[in-house]
Amino acid sequence: MSIIAVEGVSKFFGPVAAVDDVSLSIEEGEFFALLGPSGSGKTTLLRMLAGFETPSEGRITIDGQDMAGIAPNRRPVNTVFQSYAVFPHMSVADNIGYGLKLDGMGRAERASRVEEMLALVQLEGLGGRKPDQLSGGQRQRVALARALAKRPRVLLLDEPLSALDAKLREAMRFELASLQHQVGITFVMVTHDQDEALAMATRCAVMERGRLVQLATPSDLYEFPNSRFVADFIGSVNMIEGVLKTDKPDEALIATQHLGDVFIDHAVLGNVGGTLWLALRPEKIEMRPRGDGPPPQMEDAPAGLNTVPGRIDHIAYLGSESVFEVELETGLKMRVIRPNLTRWDQEDFAEEQPVWLSWHACAPAVLAG
């Protein structure tokens, strides 16, 4: 049975629907991410789970119990706030023990639970410190320990890493994921950072303007987006408009202005003659130097298809990979990513160099809208 069930939930602020008819269920032990740009309603949904907002319509069930009319302090969930909300006038230990004290836990048991939590978030020996004597990363650990101390059924995290600097953020991704494994509690995280969601979550719900647009595993979101919005929001993508020319069980042909006819090795959704969109990820494009010879032939596409000539406009060398902006003859700029597998790879291409761009028949995601 799922630990959280959201059924047809909407939230109106005046006439505006911040959350618009969202239904989803979250399984026990999941690391679930609510992902979306600002204003997509993800935070409002999280606040409804915590009890700080009441749904205008629909029903939320947590651990089999209908949450209608149940105050935040009576819910089996705890929250890690975006600003951490560590109580500034209490020591670290008092912060962590706050919820336990309210539950009437005895002094000795409380002290040992606080110690256990301090160890869990690797803050041993800092229990006596005041929050203003801690770094941002340490304060976040206090917020985590405080929320986990009551052993809630669900931990809600509101943009947990957004206030940290880039390096710490990356380290905390792994730590948060392994912490979740360790405690085995269901985590529900709100984030606008797609890297964060992909790196940590077992499943992500992508939201746009209050609606749930796709719910999938991170890899499915990236490789099989169901809309232009998702394809564009998750990672970077080259989006090319086309018209469906032929559609057979094992092949489809899409006519585009910029890439010529694009060959796809599976059937696609859509009517022949209708407009479709090709979402081609930068790392799925192969780039070769263009000399006087014939164009490269992709083995899984008919002769001359899935290959276009272009010229390198700009190179961004990022160390682990290089990002190329390649201008096609039609003027369209395509983004290509090449990993720098050897220490000399970045010397293979130079700006202004003529190149061929080609891709496999299964590389583009074909989207209806």
Binding site: A50, G51, F52, A71, P72, N73, R74, V77, N78, T79, F81, Q82, S83, A85, F87, P88, H89, Y98, G99, L102, D103, R146, A147, K150
Partner: protein
């Protein structure tokens, strides 16, 4: 522009700082120094004061009669402050959590009395409280209505004016904004997620108020107390107009020394006693705040 830049621009600094500094010295510090000097003097003739360096004025100010009035003033000001705190805290809390439109209007309502002359406000209070005032008029109306149903004694107006209660009422009325505004400033600064975190961890609203909101807003509460207490302690007009013969506060005594008694040195000593008391309070608050910051 950096601090250094400001310091180097001596002309600019002098031009901006000069006039207010001049004003402050000539019209505030110098007269204050004169009064301070008077407090060590004695009357010589009807208008002359000889500054003899005597402490007699201070000694007299510490006589039981005046100490009693000072104690009473402190009591009145303290009670005023307490009532303002009890009334003002919920009001400040309500303004903090009101939506933005309502917030503007509520703050305007709190500040509106500031733009009305104190004398006019006090006379308005007299009109409300006096024997033929609005309160008694309303009570009489209700009484007579009830009298038409049951037979009642004729209405006797309540004595609402010229007593200590009237002074207290007036002091609370005048000083309430002084309490509400600093409280509001402190509560509004408070990170809302701290309150939510407390609720989230299982606390009810009352416990959240006592364990999270009040301790964190404590510096604001202390300045509210101070900002209310100091002017209430020196209140002159309110006890003078609303009070009875036994309602006089220290400021009324001081006024009498300068006017009717024509004893400027003694008035000056009393004034400075009040001023020293105020300084001590401000210093105490600064010390408390510094300790809290550490």
């Amino acid at each position: 522009m950096s601090d250094e830049g400001w310091r180097q621009e001596r002309g600019t600094l002098a031009a901006t700082l000069g006039p207010p500094l001049f004003w402050l010295v000539v019209f505030f510090l110098v007269p204050l120094a004169v009064v301070w000097a008077y407090s060590f003097g004695q009357n010589a003739g009807l208008t002359d004061i000889r500054i003899s360096g005597t402490f007699a004025n201070y000694a007299r100010a510490l006589e039981p009669l005046y100490l009693g009035i000072l104690a009473k003033s402190i009591g009145m000001a303290g009670l005023t402050t307490l009532i303002c705190l009890i009334v003002g805290f919920p009001v400040a809390l309500a303004i903090t959590f009101a939506d933005d439109r309502a917030k503007t209007w509520l703050l305007l309502l709190v500040m509106l009395p500031f733009w009305t002359n104190l004398l006019i406000r006090t006379y308005a209070l007299i009109a409300v409280l006096r024997t033929e005032g609005y309160v008694n008029w309303t009570l009489e109306f209700l009484w007579n209505r009830l009298g038409s149903i049951w037979s009642l004694e004729p209405f006797v107006p309540l004595d609402l004016l010229h007593n200590n209660a009237a002074v207290l009422f007036g002091l609370v009325y005048v000083h309430l904004p002084f309490m509400i505004l600093p409280l509001y400033a402190a509560l509004d600064r408070l990170d809302r997620s701290l309150i939510e975190a407390s609720l989230d961890l299982g606390a009810g609203h009352f416990r959240t108020m006592m364990q999270i909101v009040v301790p964190i807003a404590l510096p604001g509460i202390l300045s509210g107390i101070l900002i209310t207490f100091i002017p209430a302690l020196g209140a002159y007009l309110t006890p003078d107009l609303l009070g009875g013969p036994d309602s006089q506060m220290i400021a009324n005594v001081i006024e009498r020394q300068f006017k009717r008694a024509n004893d400027w040195p003694f008035g000056a000593a009393l004034s400075f006693l009040l001023l020293y008391l105020t300084f001590i309070l401000i210093a105490l608050q600064a010390m408390l705040q510094r300790r809290q910051a550490q």
